[in-house]
């Protein structure tokens, strides 16, 4: 029993990452109606920018700031493409665009960050926080989890209490009516992309030292992120948060069950299948058409 508990705790680090990335995906979907396949890749851009700035000798926190800004900037560029050419397109077209952009960004990212020597990823928040069930829980994991919690709380607060959040809620419900009463639809959308990009970049800056710091593997974190978001059907921050953590812990558990260890990356798929089968119960027509 103890072994299982230990295994679950090891999954906590990954779970916090999935939770945070999932919450960012829900944020993006709710406000600009795009399933963001390219989200993790955008974050990876910021993370590698951080690593390269740190290599140049910049102090760590300054490098982190640089990485976050670059992540936000790349995200705004993606958002600009979406709003300029695909504002009125159906959801599946926007998804296809996101997938295409993912392919392009990964190609560029691998080219810039690959090459002769792998990049050294300094831990922004290094060291051990505490030991739980005999497992060392790093400060970075704790920080990631706290960041996920903070982002969820902040997103909820922001949307429900601030004027801009109000405008965003109006915009996501009826974009045309919102524009007609003077809400700056275009600018607000870009702002949402910027925030999403910044948060994802910061998340990956925290997470990257613990995972293989390869542009591709970081970008493919989009899979568990979307699985976590799907748990709440892209609607609710809290269930995505808990779902993401739970997914990480399930992955941790899989490592100690004999025979399943190598297949733990299949956990997101299982989660997705279960969620979809659960929601099959009512047949639904494909949106507008």
């Amino acid at each position: 029993m103890n072994a299982y508990f230990t295994a679950a705790v090891t999954g906590l680090a990954a779970g916090s990452a999935y939770a945070l990335l999932g919450v960012c995906a829900v944020f993006t979907y709710r406000l600009v109606a795009v399933v963001n396949f390219v989200g993790a890749a955008i974050g990876a851009t910021g993370a590698f920018a951080f690593a390269m700035l740190a290599e140049e000798g910049l102090p760590l926190w300054l490098s982190a700031l640089g990485g976050v800004i670059i992540g936000a900037a790349v995200s705004v560029a993606v958002g600009a493409i979406m709003t300029r050419w695909f504002a009125d397109s159906p959801a599946s077209t926007k998804a296809a665009v996101a997938v295409a952009l993912l392919v392009g960004l990964v190609a560029v990212g691998l080219r810039i960050t690959g090459g002769q020597h792998p990049h050294d990823f300094p831990a922004l928040i290094g060291g051990s926080a505490f030991r739980l069930a005999g497992v060392e829980v790093t400060k970075a994991s704790v920080a990631t989890l706290l960041l996920a919690l903070a982002f969820t709380l902040a997103a909820n607060l922001f949307l429900n209490r601030s004027h801009t959040g109000l405008q965003l809620r109006a915009l996501s419900e009826r974009p045309v009516a919102a524009e007609l009463i003077g809400i700056p639809v275009h600018m607000l959308s870009l702002w949402v992309w910027a925030v999403g990009g910044a948060a994802t970049a910061f998340a990956l800056i925290l997470i990257a030292p613990q995972r293989a710091p390869n542009f591709l593997t970081l970008s493919l974190l989009v899979v568990p992120a979307l699985a976590a978001a799907l748990i709440s059907f892209f609607r609710n921050f809290w269930s995505t948060l808990f779902g993401g953590v739970a997914m990480g812990m399930m992955e941790g558990l899989a490592t100690v069950i004999p025979g399943l260890g190598e297949y733990r990356t299949a956990v997101p798929l299982v989660v997705i299948l279960v969620v979809l089968l659960w929601s099959q119960r009512g047949a639904r027509w494909d949106d507008a058409r």
Binding site: V35, F37, I81, W85, F86, S89, A91, S92, T93, A95, A96, V97, V99, A100, L101, L102, V103, G104, L105, V106, A107, V108, L110, R111, L216, L220, V222, V223, L226, A227, L230, E262, Y263, R264, T265, A266, P268, L269, I272, L273, L276, L277, S279, Q280, A283, R284, W285, D286, D287, R289
Partner: protein, 570 residues
């Protein structure tokens, strides 16, 4: 229709073989080797063409299906199974099908995005499975045996060419069939497809299954090509790149698939010769895909457009109509076709329809009119099965429709047209009519089109203007000769003369085709000319019913439309 289908399938197959044959004679071995890779990639692109190009579903794990096929071939090879590679690749394809079905089934009834997410999840999981299992025979240095006689580079190229031609030809056959047209219809509008009696989940599942099969075959071909394979050949990133290329080149047909295959294989080669980094090819594919998505046109569609001719026709009555050529009249009996009792529809606190009762008699042409917000569209949605729930009873020839889904009601004999245009632009007028009405002879198709006033059957819907598409919508449901035809604002945007011409056609429907008609419109000229009787709805209730001219003179009707109470006027 079948003959034309077979004809185009053969053209595709033979053209491919001919070009390939020429290439074998002309190109040196190295280029033949590359050309083989082009063809194999083209096969995997064809698989995406079925599921995404035709049916509009995003699938991000095609290479994983290919991996299933490849590994199956590997096992069969090591086991020394009989049949050789030609049989093994078929088995490999069939092995991939259950994976496709398992992945696609949960997402079938939900929004399209969900399939993208689940296939991505599958690709990610499959990467892990492949990484944990070496290719069969690899450790013993046992290569996959090519078929006898097709051993050399030229020989294997010929083998792959034959397989590609067979697959492309078969897909072209399917594309021209009702299943293929339903895929295109589903891509454009699922509701409209269901209204023609297409079972949506079943059609989608077949697309996924066929796509998985073709991808599996591609994997098997790759196994024979390289002899031994690694997990790297079938990564998730590879599937994503394939998706981008398919979106850019347009993998729906053979030439698009080949263009895509050439891009994937030859572009990196070009970059290598120019001493540029090879993976920048993916950037090109990304840009190309985004460009194709924003312009709505893939490379192969652009090529077709450049070589084809552009014209738009609105030929009205150009050919003479022989009534004997029309699809034969169906006799649906004398009982009332539609019986509605106590129909009530609520959206939360709003009552859209309240206790609506009325009948459509056999061979009747009834108008349903009313001011905006009266509930006319809600009524049609209720009768045709596009409302999740309602109270009351709706019966077709005495048979209750309550438990029947939309596509079942269509098959039982209730067909409808739509206010907004929902006809897939890639279809031709003839294919659309066939989709809507079942199999008709070429003469019947032609006659139906002339009758309603559309151009000829070979014309693509994309080239035809919106008013003609409305007429085509009407022709489609009428040619099916159902018990009841529901026309939802067919005259929108038409001039007075066009509306009157349409009214004459509508009035002829019972006599020529045997169907009863329920016409919903607010064009009074149309309603007056076409309908013997009208029912008037106001705020969800029936306020008048009877012969058209009398009803339109009723004070209550005038009040409903104009808000003027005649008694108040001095």
């Amino acid at each position: 229709m079948m003959r034309a289908n077979l004809h185009s399938a053969l053209v595709v197959a033979i053209a491919t073989l001919a070009v390939g044959g020429v290439l074998i004679g002309v190109l040196p071995s190295y280029w033949i080797y590359l050309a083989t890779a082009v063809l194999i990639t083209a096969v995997s692109l064809l698989s995406l063409g079925v599921v995404e190009g035709r049916t509009g579903m995003i699938s991000l794990c095609q290479l994983s299906f290919a991996g299933v096929g490849a590994w199956t071939v590997g096992y069969l090879n090591v086991a020394g199974a009989p049949g050789g590679l030609p049989l093994w690749i078929v088995i490999g394809g069939l092995t991939a099908v259950p994976f496709g079905v398992a992945v696609g089934l949960p997402a079938l009834r939900l929004r399209g995005i969900n399939l993208a997410i689940v296939t991505l999840g599958f690709a990610s999981a499959f990467d892990a499975i492949l990484a944990a299992n070496t290719f069969p025979g690899q450790t013993q240095f046992q290569q996959v045996q090519r078929p006898e006689g097709f051993d050399s580079d030229q020989g294997y190229f010929l083998f792959v060419l034959i397989v590609f031609a067979l697959i492309a030809g078969s897909l072209e056959l399917i594309a021209g069939s009702r299943l293929g047209s339903s895929w295109l219809a589903i891509r454009h509008s699922e509701r409209a497809a269901a209204a023609h009696g297409v079972g949506i989940p079943s059609a989608k599942l077949r697309a996924i299954a066929i796509s998985a099969f073709v991808a599996g075959v591609a994997g098997g071909l790759l196994a024979g090509y390289l002899g031994t394979l690694v997990a790297d050949n079938f990564t998730m990133l590879g599937s994503l790149v394939l998706f981008a290329v398919a979106t850019m080149a347009g993998a729906r047909n053979a030439e698009g698939a080949i263009v895509g295959g050439a891009l994937v294989t030859l572009f990196p080669e070009l970059l290598r010769r120019l001493d540029l980094p090879q993976d920048l090819g993916n950037v090109l594919f990304a840009v190309g895909a985004v460009q194709a998505l924003s312009s709505g046109e893939t490379m192969s569609e652009g090529l077709r457009r450049a070589f084809g001719r552009l014209w738009s026709q609105r030929a009205v009555g150009a050919a003479a109509l022989d009534h004997a050529d029309l699809p034969p009249r169906r006799d649906h009996g004398d009982r009332p076709v539609l019986t509605v009792r106590g129909l009530t529809v609520r959206y939360g606190a709003v009552v859209a329809l309240e206790n609506v009762c009325f009948d459509v008699p056999a061979l009747g042409v009834i108008g349903l009119i009313g001011p905006n917000g009266a509930g006319k569209s809600t009524f049609i949605d209720a009768v045709t099965g596009f409302l999740p729930r309602y109270e009351g009873h709706i019966e077709l020839h005495g048979r209750p429709l309550e438990s029947q889904l939309a596509h079942r009601r269509a098959r039982l004999g209730v067909r409808r047209t739509w206010q907004t245009n929902r006809i897939a632009p890639d279809l031709s007028l003839g294919t659309y009519l066939t989709l809507a009405s079942g199999s008709l002879t070429a003469a019947q198709l032609r006659a139906a089109l002339v009758w309603i006033g559309c151009p000829d059957a070979g014309q693509k819907v994309a080239k035809v203007d919106a008013g003609t598409r409305r007429l085509l919508d009407v022709a489609g449901v009428v040619a099916a000769r159902p018990a009841l035809v529901l026309l939802d604002e067919p005259a929108a945007g038409q001039s007075y003369d066009e509306a009157l011409r349409l009214a004459k056609r509508i009035a002829e429907i019972p006599e020529l085709f045997g169907s009863a008609v329920l016409l919903v419109d607010h064009d009074m000229d149309l309603v007056r000319a076409a309908c013997a009787c009208v029912t008037v709805l106001d705020s969800g209730k029936v306020i008048a019913s009877g012969p058209t001219v009398k009803v339109l003179e009723l004070p209550a009707v005038k009040t409903a439309y104009l808000g003027i109470d005649e008694s108040e006027v001095p």
